[in-house]
Amino acid sequence: MELEDKEEARFIARLASRDERAFNELVVLYQERVFRILLRMLGRRDEAEDMAQEVFVQVFKAVGTFRGDSKLSTWIYRIAVNLCKNRVKYLKRRRSEAQDEYEAMAERSPMTSGGGVTSGDVARPDHLVEGMQLERVVQSCIMELEPDFREVLVLRDVEDLSYEELCEVTGLPDGTVKSRLHRARAMLKQAVERRMGDQAK
């Protein structure tokens, strides 16, 4: 859900005056998308959750400097991506052992939430499992990409941002974004095919 321009301006004014209720609304409004971006970028749920909280803390600190040159959502995604890239570098330095979040099928919402999907609702449980396996492979291959490629791929293909928004978030020119995206997709396809081929063997 996006805010209208006038509504957004009023909302930003409330944020700038450090209105706690406005920040509550902001977090509720953007937490899901921010979390998804971070989860796809970091590949770890615990890291993504912590980083999502950090994103909103940074928004709180810096909202006074937001000039409204871009949409509020784009600005928030930029903060998320920058924090995420720093985190990836830090984790790489620490050689953190990747915890494969996608093995934890029990944590999947349809399985865990009381109001979620029950076995009766799933037409083909084998399709569900196949889908999860494919998702796991794809996510694992996304994690193999360099952060710069991963960033454009996640924002465009997972979060469906427009090219214009993509340029604003990454700070890259249009041509660079498109070529980087094309290369990221090609690398991902290659990695997935290789992995799926290995599994078939």
């Binding site: 998804r36 749920r45 999907v117 494919l134 794809v138 293909d157 498109k178 094309h182």
Partner: protein, 106 residues
């Protein structure tokens, strides 16, 4: 390169489908509570204050207000109950005054 090839867009569509997996995607956590906690701690209780977890000194004003309120409540109770108590009930079986009988002269 100014345009992304069409087959690349098809690949993107396949990617989106794949990442949806078998279900609705990963359940998002409750970010709000963690955000409020972090901000409360880092601002020393200035924001999202809960009145106790971040207070560094005993709240003196709270003690004073509590004392004054207790005094006010006691005063109110006294004011309400005092008229009901009425005059002290006289005790009827008061002991007779002692008569001192002087001894008869012999």
């Amino acid at each position: 390169m100014s345009e992304v090839p069409e087959d690349s867009e098809e690949l993107a569509a396949e990617l989106r489908t794949a990442l949806k997996g078998g279900g609705a995607g990963p359940a998002p956590p409750d970010v709000l509570a963690g955000f409020q906690r972090k901000l409360r701690e880092r601002s020393g209780g200035k924001f999202y204050e809960d009145g106790w977890s971040t207070s560094r000194h005993p709240p003196k004003s709270t003690y004073l207000i509590t004392s004054l309120m207790m005094l006010a409540v006691l005063g109110l109770i006294y004011a309400l109950l005092a008229p009901l108590s009425g005059e002290p009930v006289p005790v009827e079986n008061m002991p007779q005054p002692v008569q001192i009988i002087s001894p008869r002269p012999q």
